[in-house]
């Protein structure tokens, strides 16, 4: 009995020691030489492996940063943001310029109310599948399909579908502007826009390229490409192309003149402080004002 125990212990010990030596030799022999800074940079990264930086993952991004050092202009980790990039720069001992923080913006206001359903979709609930099949279950062939591919693509739980409107809602706190939703949206509705001063933003919440009358028929809140906003904008931030207006966020100074001018309420202003009950803008017809106001309340 005792002998068995001793033998067992002895054999296992010898075996263990032998294998340890083999492992050590192999590890030494096949060691891959790598810049030690890659490890250090990887440590200060968020580790989300989202690919928002354009690299395959955090490790690849760390490698990319080390390779492109000292010039880190092309490297930006949207999840870590400017703070994160400062840390990376500190590890590498270089300087990096701060980037304007961005956020994903859903440019469709085709709620169930604004944009009546004209048919019923009965296939697999995926925007890509639906978009490949047809224009969607409303009269608007440009708007949100509502199957939530963006929600599935978001690794940070920042997008959710609002069951009341059938549209995705971005949680600005959680959004890291990694761009996964932008890639996932087959209708190119989601755009990364600068967060703006105190998170205040003005944007056209529509991408419908149909002519005004057609767009309006499909959706009450559609941009009809009338160009009134472009005329009223003092900073030439608005362009109208293919029957749809676009506000350049680098030029927009948040004066909100266009918001009051828009006849359909397609231009949204979010996160502006609500100052008393606003005096009604005389140019805006009644139904148009409602959706815009709703959005202000919802997103504020």
């Amino acid at each position: 009995m005792t002998q068995t125990i001793i033998w067992t212990i002895a054999i296992l010990t010898v075996l263990g020691a032998l294998l340890a030596v083999v492992l050590y030799v192999v590890a030494e022999k096949f060691k891959v030489e790598e810049d030690p800074r890659i490890d250090e940079v990887e440590k200060v990264l968020p580790g989300a492996n989202c690919g928002g930086c354009g690299q395959a993952g955090c490790r690849a991004f760390a490698q990319f940063c080390v390779e492109s050092s000292p010039n880190l202009d092309k490297c930006f980790c949207p999840v870590g943001g400017n703070d994160g990039m400062q840390k990376v720069a500190a590890v590498l001992g270089v300087e990096v310029a701060a980037k304007e923080p961005q956020v994903a913006v859903v440019r469709c206001n085709g709620t169930c109310e604004n944009r009546p359903r004209t048919n019923e979709y009965g296939g697999y609930q995926s925007c890509r599948v639906k978009a490949a099949l047809y224009s969607g279950d409303t009269g608007c062939s440009f708007g949100c399909l509502g199957c939530g591919d963006c929600v599935a693509a978001c690794q940070f739980g920042a997008i959710s579908m609002d069951p009341a409107t059938g549209l995705p809602v971005v949680d600005e706190e959680k959004c890291t502007a990694c761009g996964a939703c932008v890639k996932a949206c087959p209708k190119a509705i989601i755009e990364l826009r600068n967060k703006g001063r105190r998170n205040m933003r003005v944007f056209v919440s529509c991408v419908n390229k149909d002519k005004g009358a057609v767009a309006r028929k499909a959706c009450k809140a559609a941009c009809i490409g009338c160009g009134k906003c472009a005329k009223v904008c003092p900073f030439e931030a608005i362009t109208v192309e293919n029957n749809v207006a676009y506000i350049d966020f680098t030029k927009c100074k948040l004066c909100k003149k266009c918001v009051a001018e828009c006849p359909t309420g397609a231009i949204h202003a979010v996160n502006f402080p609500v100052i008393k009950p606003k005096p009604e803008a005389p140019a805006a017809p009644k139904p148009a004002e409602t959706p815009a106001a709703e959005t202000v309340n919802k997103e504020a």
Partner: protein, 454 residues
């Protein structure tokens, strides 16, 4: 033993309810909207403008690439506008709107019923005529016919296969033309066979259409007796199995050859044309009539017998007009399909108009067509058993949902013909084809990108 393809296949009920309804001619509406995208490939470029006078058969749009086709006016009258209009999927496409005035055809068109059996000798001229008349494949893909009839240099056609399988349930338009226009179809086959260098021609028909088999065999026999250039044409009875009419499956069934992955039928010496295409070739070559009409089936289980129809329609007719003329949309219909129930397109917009390839208005009820709730895969392998390409949809589904492109390519997702057998046979209602179709597109793009780089 009757022939059929060797891998997979399913047996849905064939439901050929409207098979005894004779082809009726639809009256021309007061206005038509003719799409410039009625074929596979680049949309045609309109060559008319608002205010132009057109006749029936006049070219109104020209091809804009090698794989593209002419589009002709199906009515006579005045062009009202050229602009975007929604197709049956609701997407914008350029349509030419024409106000109908009278019914005046182009002079060269021969509208008589006389059968012209003498085949012109000049193959080049024949091909040019087929091209100029805008003939496209009417079996579903609407691939320009003249392109298929010119094998690339170094390749030779060993057999012309005429597809009369009509394996999709419900559809009866091919069946009706095989009964009513059998001789014209055979003449068309003889023309195509001559263009291809005199290879034999086989007309493949499924066993569930005995009258069509008889009619076609009789037409072949009579033409072989009475005219020259008809030798080597035969009728082959095929076992009923879906998708017999799939190009690759039909080649396997008739010739016992299989087209290589990403290859073309001509690689194994086969050219497949639908019987309706053959009829269009006859009309183009022998009668100078461009492809502006075709036959479509109005059917469905929820439609009473007297409202079942086979109509000869002209391109550009609004679908709502046809449905109205045929007696209205039945109350119980939940889904309307253009094409067969296995591969046809669900119509989202009834204001869309007919195109060259339109083959039906099929009304399906909610019980027939609403999909069941998706449940877990039980790995029964029914999808793999059903797949006529020998793929494993359960595996492709898993890889596609995880974006595993290399594995998808290894498992031949690019070979998928989108016949729908997998989704049809899945007991767990997994949307296999929905997912595979998208992933297949991605994989083919990757493959093309790779070959383009080389």
């Amino acid at each position: 033993m009757m022939k059929t393809f060797s891998i997979g296949g399913i047996h849905p009920s064939d439901s050929k309810i409207s098979k005894d309804c004779k082809i009726e001619v639809l009256p021309v509406p007061s206005k038509v909207y003719i799409s410039v995208a009625q074929h596979l490939g680049a949309p045609a470029t309109p060559i008319v403008k608002a205010g132009d006078q057109v006749k029936v058969g006049q070219v109104i749009a020209e091809p804009s690439g090698f794989i593209s086709a002419y589009v002709h006016s199906s009515v006579s009258g005045t062009v009202k506008s050229v602009g975007p209009r929604k197709d049956l999927a609701g997407n914008n496409m350029t349509h030419i709107e024409i106000d109908v005035e009278g019914d005046e055809w182009i002079e060269e068109a021969d509208l008589s019923d006389t059968l012209v059996t003498a085949i012109p000798e000049d193959n080049k001229a024949i091909l040019e005529k087929i091209k100029m008349c805008g003939v496209v494949g009417l079996g579903g893909a609407t691939f320009p016919a003249h392109v298929k009839l010119c094998p690339p240099p170094g390749k030779k056609a060993d057999c012309l296969i005429l597809n009369g399988a009509e394996c999709e349930p419900y559809l009866t338009s091919d069946y009706r033309i095989m009964l009513e226009r059998s001789k014209e179809i055979v003449v068309g086959a003889a023309i195509m066979k001559q263009v291809l260098g005199g290879c034999p021609a086989v007309i493949g028909i499924e066993e569930n259409k005995p009258e069509a088999i008889k009619a076609m065999a009789a037409a072949v026999a009579e033409l072989q007796r009475s005219a020259k250039g008809y030798e080597g044409i035969s009728v082959m009875t095929l076992k009923k199995k879906y998708p017999q009419g799939g190009e690759k499956q039909l080649i396997d069934a008739v010739m016992g050859r299989q087209v290589k992955s990403m290859g073309l039928p001509i690689d194994v010496g086969a050219v497949v044309q639908n019987v309706a295409t053959s009829l269009a070739v006859y009309e183009a070559v022998q009668k100078n009539i461009p492809l502006v009409t075709n036959v479509m089936t109005i059917t469905g289980d929820c439609l009473p017998m007297e409202k079942q129809h086979n109509y000869k329609f002209r391109i550009g007719m609004p679908l709502s007009y046809i449905a109205e003329y045929a007696g209205g949309i039945p109350e119980k219909a939940a889904k309307i399909i253009s094409g067969g129930p296995m591969m046809g397109k669900a119509i989202a917009n009834m204001d869309a108009t007919t195109v060259k390839g339109s083959s039906s208005l099929l009304y399906l009820t909610a019980e027939q067509t609403v999909r069941g709730v998706e449940s877990a895969c039980i790995r029964c392998g029914k999808c793999a058993e059903a797949c006529p390409m020998g793929l494993e949809p359960f595996l492709l589904n898993k890889y596609a949902r995880n974006n595993m492109m290399d594995e998808l390519e290894e498992n031949a997702i690019q070979d998928c013909i989108e016949c729908g057998c997998c989704l049809y046979s899945c007991p767990a209602n997994i949307p296999l084809l929905d997912i595979i179709r998208i992933a297949k597109g991605d994989v083919i793009r990757i493959i093309r990108g790779r070959t383009a780089k080389k």
